[in-house]
């Protein structure tokens, strides 16, 4: 087994406790208190300049590397990229990852207990945005006494958070690494999210979001996940992985059972997801993605204008077969940054894995990330020497 960070634990910290410290959400509502679930690996150095924040995607959590319980069990979601000697090298960097606001893996979300009522929030949970998620992460870093990040990194929805970081807190990010992401969802991506949400909302067990303690809307959530999975794969990767093969048999049974391998795969993914994810969180988090539009928030509709405020070195990575957040959307980010003559690097990695490539097509991605981080740290150190 490759070197790893070992057995790790998720930590919990509560921010925005008192009403005067509540977080002002983009919707205008003030919200608190918020418990944040997070993990850290590696050590902060003396100069306090080696902190790397990793932001997770839609269904991720704070557990990005190492194992829970025992080695080999429950690896982190980016175990192949984070650890000693890996792309994000925990021997060199202090790595932080936290569960997003609205999620269901330890950070306050719709399934958490509302301290004012003693009952789960359910549908009374406020609608949150990617910006709100980032505000919560900032509070966490304040508490951990991280003044400036070496880099903020994320793939997919994590990449949106990373981009939001470089815009909302430009002084705090030396580098932003945005992988398989977009500056705003295309109508096609919003459409897929909408169908997923519809599947949940129309499940009779959803009951307007107040299903806690009763039967959960498992069918709706499973269908939402199936749709999601279709968008994470590609035509080519489905051909390769499943083809038209049948599961456990060679002849058609001429009924509506789950015969094809792809059918049984989706079914399995749907069922597995229901065990670990909350349907309401799926609604809130996908909605946050749909609202995401940095040109609108920071540039009055212009991405170029929005990027004026960026102070980080930027690395943008896309994958050729990703049709959920296709390369052209990464290229839009890159073009905006180039118009502003920002320090930007763009790599479009050849892969047949579709959107999932950011988790699977790791070799080139790892090389690019590790070299970019090394060069960024070197730059900071040499600038520091000059200013001394």
């Amino acid at each position: 087994m490759r070197k790893n960070v070992g057995i790790v634990k998720t930590h919990y910290l509560t921010v925005a406790e008192k009403p005067e410290d509540y977080i002002k959400l983009d919707s205008g509502r003030k919200f608190g208190p918020i418990t944040v679930a997070y993990e850290t690996y590696g050590k902060i150095n003396e100069k306090n300049n080696n902190a790397v924040l990793i932001c997770h995607a839609l269904s991720g959590d704070a557990h990005v590397a190492g194992y829970h319980g025992e080695i080999g069990k429950k690896p982190g979601w980016w175990e192949n990229a984070v650890g000693p000697g890996k792309a994000i090298d925990t021997d060199k960097y202090f790595v932080i990852c936290s569960n997003v606001l609205g999620g269901c893996s330890g950070t306050t979300g719709p399934s958490s207990i509302n301290p004012q009522t003693g009952k789960p929030y359910g549908s009374t949970f406020p609608v949150v945005t990617i910006g709100d998620m980032v505000k919560v992460q900032k509070r966490l870093l304040d508490r951990l006494k991280i003044k400036k990040l070496l880099a903020v990194i994320g793939g997919s929805m994590g990449g949106m958070q990373a981009l939001e970081w470089t815009l909302r807190y430009p002084e705090m990010c030396n580098a932003g690494i945005i992988i398989a992401a977009t500056s705003r969802l295309s109508p096609q991506s919003i459409a897929f999210n909408a169908v997923g949400r519809n599947a949940i909302i129309t499940d009779p067990r959803w009951k307007n979001g107040n299903y806690y303690g009763k039967k959960v809307p498992a069918d709706g959530l499973a269908i939402a996940r199936m749709i999601g999975h279709i968008t994470y794969l590609s035509d080519a990767s489905m051909h390769k992985k499943f083809g038209r093969r049948l599961q456990h048999k060679t002849k058609f049974s001429y009924d509506f059972s789950k015969e094809f391998q792809i059918e049984s795969y989706l079914d399995h993914q749907g069922t597995k997801f229901v065990e670990r994810f909350d349907a309401n969180s799926y609604l809130y988090v996908t909605k946050a993605m749909d609202y995401f539009d940095v040109a609108k928030v920071y540039g009055k509709g212009s991405l170029i204008k929005a990027f004026e405020r960026i102070k980080s070195r930027m690395l943008v990575i896309s994958f050729t077969s990703d049709w959920l957040f296709p390369p052209y959307q990464s290229k839009e980010i890159v073009n905006g940054l180039m118009k502003q003559q920002k320090d930007v690097t763009y790599i479009n990695i050849e892969s047949s894995y579709g959107h999932d490539a950011f988790l699977l097509e790791i070799e080139t991605e790892a090389k690019v990330i590790s070299k970019f981080l090394d060069a960024t740290l070197q730059k900071i150190e040499s600038n520091r020497e000059e200013s001394l």
């Binding site: 003559q341 690097t345 763009y346």
Partner: protein, 203 residues
Amino acid sequence: MKKMLSLLKNRADLEIIASWIKEGSTVLDLGCGDGNLLYYLTHSKNIKGMGIEIDLERMINCIEKGIPVVEHDLNQKFDNIRDMAYDYVILSQTIQELQYPDLLIEEILRIGKYGIVSFPNFGHFKIRVNLFLNGRMPKSSVLPYDWYNTPNIHLMTLKDFKVFCKERNIKILKTHYITGNRYRKNLLFPNLFAEGCVILISK
């Protein structure tokens, strides 16, 4: 400094280019390769540089050196760069490989105050003799390909380029000629005796 210069791998054209670029300027290198020239300029002349490249391994070498690099097809316009965004735009030993060299040169002078181009001179006497005597497309150390597999689809002579600039009202501000591994400011009958050249242009 000597060690830094060795980064340019004894490529005479890169040494000339480096000597022309002013301290603290902004530089865009089209087809920047491993980023050696930009790395050299960043550390010796404090420039702010950016590279354009399509080869992945070379791009990774740029990233390692801390040089920002973006994938872009040089046969496409630079819609993502403002007019006069850079002080210098460099195109070294690539012009003859382009589909639309004329459009790229115009584009270079839109996005840059100065353009620096270097290219092999197809008018060199050895090439002429070769074609004249053998009746076959000439080969040399700088042009080692066969007619069917050469990336050099738009070969030209020094004179061709000068005429082109005149027709387009492009000013030639400086020219250096390359013979062997040396470069010089003045050369008698350069279209016959220069193997290559480096030219500073502007509108």
